[in-house]
């Protein structure tokens, strides 16, 4: 709870700094402030507590994920310095919106009441709509913002409808009461329908197939930093929330529902990977790869009782490698109007350090050992096999093989092609974000227990 208040306070402070004409101090202040909030979260890690008539319930799950979100936001804020260099006058808006987005994210994993959950998701989504369209003189960015807004509000509507049906069935918004009721009595048919509608809405946010059509266009059109936010932070937020929703309401009972998850998971992996194979725009490629990773993460919903720690691990591994990859993209595609793969030609020669970081990030996403992406997949496969879904695992393995194809396309472009452009300058913040995030990823790979044991 203190985390949430501190984050919102930080956002407001951000806006105040603009008024006080302290624009230069905004990014350092925000990073320090977020580090402070992270420290606060870590120090409070532990017992389950509830606030405001169960509106907010803070437990290990929400704390651990909040910590992850805060770390990701720190990286994103650090990248903002170079990214918004030409728009210094609006820097406080951009940063403040990102902080509010984080507040929404934290509310989404700490809700104790469906109203709070909806509030969180709307804070997060509206911030994102703005960020997607934030490059307002660019037609593509406008298109991305509009598309995302239209489809996103539609999904929000579906979620709201689902919540209404759940209320109709249970007579309460309180998640604890719902879970007590859902275990005991004969359930009205509204309840499963409501759950399915809420799930569909969340699958839209996660960008799982067949609710993924918005993702490639929005990812490509949005400013790169927003794409980074969407494909790392927002995706894991939505995934964690979906997991928390289903476990908190104990709604995983019906086999038909599990079948649906299996199908969506398989479809996301396969469609995402096959579409990614053909992309020549790196942002689009990562969008499709994100869809396939969403498919992998959906597997955690099949063994809900034990999957919290593996979801946390997978989300952290995926998001950290995503941040590392996007920081290299930010560096390479500065002052370019596209993110075509040709921009990466010869990066291995002109900038070995960043090329190595991007290679590491891609290897992690492909699931090559030592990087944490490997352990993430391993633990996930282990649980899913024990839950008895062999066919799903085989599809997942085949997909891991396919994914190597496009990840290596980028690696090949960096190392085998001749460099075609000169890049100058060494933006310190981009470098340090890239290196730190890949090192964190590697550290998680070498000591998986550290993260895995967090959620007991």
């Amino acid at each position: 709870m203190n985390t949430l208040i501190a984050i919102v306070g930080l956002g407001i402070l951000c806006l105040l700094f603009e008024i006080l004409n302290l624009r230069k101090a905004i990014i350092p202040m925000t990073i320090v402030g977020l580090l402070g909030v992270l420290g606060l979260t870590v120090s409070e890690f532990g017992d389950t507590r509830s606030f405001y008539n169960n509106m907010i319930i803070v437990d290990k799950f929400s704390m651990a994920f909040s910590g992850l979100f805060i770390i990701l936001t720190i990286f994103i804020v650090a990248l903002s310095h170079n990214f918004y260099q030409n728009q210094q006058s609006k820097i406080s808006d951009f940063i403040a919106i990102k902080i509010f987005l984080l507040a929404g994210a934290v509310a989404m994993v700490a809700f104790g009441n469906l109203a709070m959950f909806f509030l969180g998701i709307e804070i997060l989504s509206i911030s994102l709509y703005i960020l997607a369209a934030s490059n307002r003189l660019n037609l593509k960015s406008n298109e991305a913002g509009m598309k995302y807004f239209l489809l996103g509000s539609f999904a929000s509507g579906i979620i709201l409808f689902g919540i209404c049906l759940i209320y109709g069935a249970m007579g309460t918004f309180d998640v604890t009461e719902i879970s007590e009721l859902s275990g005991s009595a004969e359930l009205p048919v509204w309840f499963p329908i409501g759950i399915i509608l809420v799930t569909i809405g969340m699958l839209f946010k996660v960008a799982a197939v067949p609710f993924h059509f918005w993702a490639p266009d929005v990812y490509e059109g949005s400013p790169t930093l927003t794409t980074a936010t969407m494909s790392t932070l927002v995706k894991v937020v939505a995934m964690a929330t979906l997991y928390k929703l289903l476990t908190a309401m104990k709604a995983d009972i019906s086999p038909a529902f599990q079948m649906m998850i299996v199908v969506v998971s398989m479809a996301s992996m396969t469609v995402g990977n096959i579409m990614a194979l053909k992309q020549s725009n790196v942002k689009r490629m990562l969008a499709f790869s994100g869809i396939s990773h969403a498919g992998f993460m959906l597997m955690t919903l099949l063994s809900q009782a034990i999957a919290a720690s593996s979801l946390l691990y997978y989300a952290a591994a995926y998001a950290l490698s995503g941040i590392a990859a996007f920081s290299v993209i930010l560096y390479v595609c500065r002052n370019r109007d596209n993110e075509d793969i040709t921009n990466f030609h010869g990066l291995g020669k002109t900038n070995p350090l960043l090329a190595a970081v991007l290679t590491g990030a891609l290897l992690s996403m492909a699931g090559i050992p030592v990087f944490s992406g490997f352990f993430a997949k391993l633990v996930l496969f282990n649980q899913t096999i024990q839950a008895g879904y062999i066919a799903l695992i085989i599809v997942a393995v085949v997909n891991s093989i396919i994914s190597v194809g496009y990840y290596f396309k980028l690696i090949l472009a960096m190392y085998t092609k001749e460099p075609n452009q000169e890049r100058t300058g060494t933006p310190v913040l981009i470098y340090s974000v890239a290196v730190i995030s890949i090192l964190l990823n590697l550290a998680m790979g070498l000591f998986p227990s550290f993260v895995m044991d967090l959620l007991g």
Binding site: I368, P369, N382, I385, V397, G405, L412, S449, D453
Partner: protein, 478 residues
């Protein structure tokens, strides 16, 4: 003192090489290569004195994974093969002028780190990690320092990577399943499992896919020739000399004892596949016009026989397979190096453009001749010991296997000697063939020395590997 020091030494060596700069890199790498060989000999002495040089610590709590390294005679023999060949391979690079030399030498040492790890690992997941880790350096070595058209090379190398990665993933699934059964992936726990027959078949073929691609056994060999040809010679040496032995070693260490019933059930099919590889490799080798490709296919024939030997599940078969692995490792490195020596002088790998070297360089000719004869298993060379033992074990199973498998010697003699004739003999070549340099000669002499020494006196290796093979055989026959 335990085997972790060897791993640390190799890893530190790779880092030190990278940071020593392009000029010093080769020498630093050689130094670390020699040091690791010295250390592994020292470990061997400790092992023979009865010390425990294994290592085990718990690493990850959930899933329960240990950082366990086990050094028995078999693993030590393979480790010694790796650390003996590594300095030789590094030394062989001295004649090449690599761009970005610090990176390639660092990658060579890193690869030998990963391979040593694979041979020593006694926990399934640790083993799998080292196994995959060894793939990354060779991928970059072949891709960045290889020869021929860049696009074609890229295709070949990516195909290789995806093939082997695909195979390994099925092995990973098998390990994940085994973990569910045994609750740990420690080697001894897996040996103790008694799985039902249909599950064993499933596990067996998941492993088989990974190993058959790596070794390669036909019909999973299609990546091999192109990659051997396109990779730089140091890469080809690493691949053929050591890396494919990882597959063969893993068959003996992991596949057979974990799924023994399936191994017995499919024994004839697998021996058949191995022997088919012998015939196929030999016949295709006959028709090759490119020296490196010819050697690649001859290698395919030899490893087919080794695989057939290990699948006989007899002590002779296993022992012969291991002996032949070591012998083949040395001889194939020597042969690829000889091809490189010719390439350095004539800038060609096409057999038709060679010939007439004998008169200009009798020293090189005789050394090359010895290597050719060793590769066709002339008695008194190490390869003879290995190949003979394997053939003997095949004869115990079924005489016709031994007869067909024995064709490898006859066919091998035919294509190798024909190759020798076209490459070395004939009218004196108009182009000047500069005599071998000191370091080139040293490498060839060292390899020939090893081949002759163990050809006449294989007992030390035999004594080293037999107890651990017998131990494995007990698990196979449980």
């Amino acid at each position: 003192m335990d085997v972790t020091y060897l791993l640390i030494l190799l890893f530190v060596g790779a880092l030190a090489t990278y940071f020593s700069g392009d000029k010093l890199a080769s020498k630093v790498a050689l130094l670390f290569g020699l040091a690791s060989f010295g250390l592994s000999v020292y470990l061997l002495i400790l092992f023979n004195a009865g010390d425990d040089i294994g290592f085990a610590r718990s690493w990850i709590t959930r899933p329960n994974i240990a950082f366990a390294l086990k050094a028995d005679g078999l693993a030590l023999a393979m480790v010694l093969l790796t650390t003996a060949l590594t300095p030789i391979i590094i030394l062989s690079g001295f004649g090449n002028d690599f761009k970005n030399a610090k990176a390639i030498y660092a990658l060579i040492l890193f690869m030998s780190f990963a391979m040593v790890g694979t041979f020593l690992a006694a926990d399934g997941l640790l083993y799998y990690m080292f196994w995959e880790l060894s793939l990354i350096p060779i991928y970059f070595i072949a891709l960045l320092w290889g020869n021929g058209d860049a696009e074609e090379r890229k295709k070949a190398v990516v195909k290789f990577f995806i093939y082997t990665f695909a195979g390994s993933l099925f092995m990973l699934v098998a390990f994940v399943y085994l973990y569910g059964q045994a609750g740990s992936l420690l080697l001894e726990d897996l040996y103790r499992l008694n799985l039902p027959d249909n599950v064993q078949t499933w596990i067996f073929f998941a492993f088989f896919l990974a190993y058959a691609i790596k070794i390669p056994i036909i019909p999973f060999h299609t990546w091999q020739a192109a990659v051997y040809q396109k990779a730089p010679t140091v890469g080809t040496m690493l691949l053929s000399g050591i890396m494919l032995k990882m597959g063969l070693y893993s068959v003996i260490r992991w596949q057979l004892p974990i799924a023994p019933h399936a191994a017995k059930q499919y024994m004839f099919t697998l021996i058949g596949l191995g022997i088919a590889g012998v015939i196929y490799g030999s016949i295709v080798a006959l028709r090759q016009k490119d020296l490196k490709k010819l050697l690649a296919y001859s290698s395919l024939a030899h490893v087919g026989l080794i695989a057939a030997g290990s699948y006989t599940l007899t002590i002779d078969g296993l022992r012969g397979a291991v002996l032949q692995m070591i012998a083949h490792g040395f001889v194939v490195v020597g042969l690829f190096f000889a091809a490189e020596i010719i390439y350095r002088r004539y800038q060609t790998r096409a057999i038709a453009e060679m010939g007439g070297i004998r008169a200009q360089s009798p020293k090189f000719t005789s050394m090359f001749m010895i290597l050719v004869l060793a590769s066709v298993a002339l008695p008194s060379t190490f390869n003879f010991v290995g190949e003979f033992t394997v053939l003997y074990s095949l004869a115990q199973i079924n005489l016709s296997f031994a007869i067909v498998g024995g064709l490898t010697i006859i066919l091998g003699a035919y294509y190798m000697l024909r190759m020798f004739q076209h490459v070395m003999l004939g009218e004196t070549n108009a182009r000047l063939f500069q005599d071998v340099t000191f370091s080139e000669g040293l490498i060839l002499v060292l390899i020939i020395g090893v081949l002759f020494f163990f050809g006449m006196y294989p007992k030390p290796i035999n004594d080293l590997i037999t107890p651990s093979l017998q131990n494995i055989l007990i698990h196979i026959n449980r």
